[in-house]
Subunit: 258 residues, 2 copies
């Protein structure tokens, strides 16, 4: 009898039965929900969590009634020539490290951690029906590391990815990307490894954390699923003690495409 080892990765959605609120212990909620649904977390799992869930637990939810746009922010909202709420634009401007472009109805900015995206990631979806917006964390790696340590306290050694959906240059549609990564290298460096025919690979760095975030979106979805996180099981990674999400951000100065 021939036994063939099948390489398989499982992407398991974690469904939460309750809405997430500020100061919730999100790792605990996810850990318990995974047990309850019959798929407990295991050592070497990767836990990918939507930024929306993280923002709610970390107090990054801003009631729009508390935002008073300045004249400049109102002017930018007008420039965009769309039905944007000036308060959302005000938040996007305030959370941006830099305004990259205002063009064709879109405000493109860079976040404090260097990610270039629309509206600085300020989002009204899946928050509370339009009354509040969520903003991106200033340092998503720090939160990923905090959650990783919390999972360790709960008894599992896992890697943690905080992910957000984002548009990208040159291609249509959004994909999930990793904005915070802890417990694993975000980039797999294959240079020096040999291919199927023994040839040494010269240039090959894989943004594996972005690929994991993308795979997680296949179960978390983006609208009414109530699945704020996924367990990714079967991806081997080297444990690492410093967060690595920021390594995925390329400095525009060294960009080959721009």
């Amino acid at each position: 009898m021939v036994v063939i080892l099948v390489k398989e990765v499982r992407v398991i959605g974690i469904k939460l039965e309750k809405f997430i609120s500020e100061n919730d212990d999100l790792p605990l909620l996810l850990f318990e929900a995974a047990v309850k649904q019959g798929t407990p977390m295991m050592d070497n799992d990767i836990i990918a969590i939507t930024h929306t869930a993280v923002a709610k637990a970390e107090g990054l939810k801003i009631p729009l009634s508390q935002v008073n746009p300045t004249h400049k922010e109102k002017a930018i909202a007008l420039l965009l020539r769309r039905e944007y709420d000036p308060r959302v634009i005000a938040l996007a401007v305030r959370e941006a490290r830099e305004i990259v472009r205002i063009d064709r109805g879109h405000l493109i900015t860079s976040t404090y951690f260097g990610h270039v995206t629309a509206n600085t990631g300020v989002d009204l979806s899946n928050v509370d029906g339009g009354n509040s917006a969520i903003i991106l964390p200033r340092d998503p790696d720090e939160i990923a590391e905090k959650y990783r340590m919390r999972f360790k306290e709960l008894g599992v050694t896992v890697a943690v990815i905080i992910m957000d959906s984002s548009g990208r240059p040159l291609r249509r549609g959004e994909v999930n990307i990793a904005i915070g990564v802890a417990g694993m290298s975000s980039i797999k460096d294959l240079r020096g490894k040999r291919d199927l025919y023994g040839r040494i690979l010269k240039v090959k760095k894989i943004a594996v954390a972005d690929e994991i975030a993308a795979s997680a979106e296949l179960v978390t979805g983006s609208c009414s699923e109530g699945i704020p996180a996924a367990i990714i099981r079967g991806v081997s990674f080297d444990p690492i003690d410093t967060p690595t999400g920021s390594l995925l951000v390329r400095d525009p100065q060294e960009d080959l495409f721009l």
Copy 2:
């Protein structure tokens, strides 16, 4: 007793025991290998295939000994100031619709199907140890559709994605993307759908085929694994009869980031 339905996506590598050669019936090889390893393909699976495997079966493998670079091509190779084989650069120039940029040791071009990438995707890895290069198909959607019809003949109704690894602007590392897509929509349009709180989503198009390609890389890998394809199971999609890979390519004229 409470039964909780767990949303799960499985990404199953298909291992081939033999090297792929020109005129091989790749869908048949993959179909049979999946049976042999105990994970037969099923209706509604998505079959993601590496472009390298496709290129070998489709005769897109070029022995470098047959490539004679022109003076202009040699000059470009010199401009790149790296240890590039001028014959690889010659192929990259010939397969390009347009040279986008020659900068800092990199040749950035657009392919005939509009994808902007390094060296027009001409690659020596996993081909035959460095003697031959593979080139990208001129119309990957057409091959995806051909394979989808072949799988149908073999008895399974699946979607097919042909994928390649590619660098991208603004972020470090390569990820797998979908260059050819058949049998499913490459982009999931959620506009008009409601979120968890009943709010209608305004802007939300997900490049689901790119996310699936990214997830497939987690099992196919990029070096010595001998896994040229993956079965993705558990992603619901609407069957569609026209290929959709080209829809993922954004015209630079309408790009918001560039």
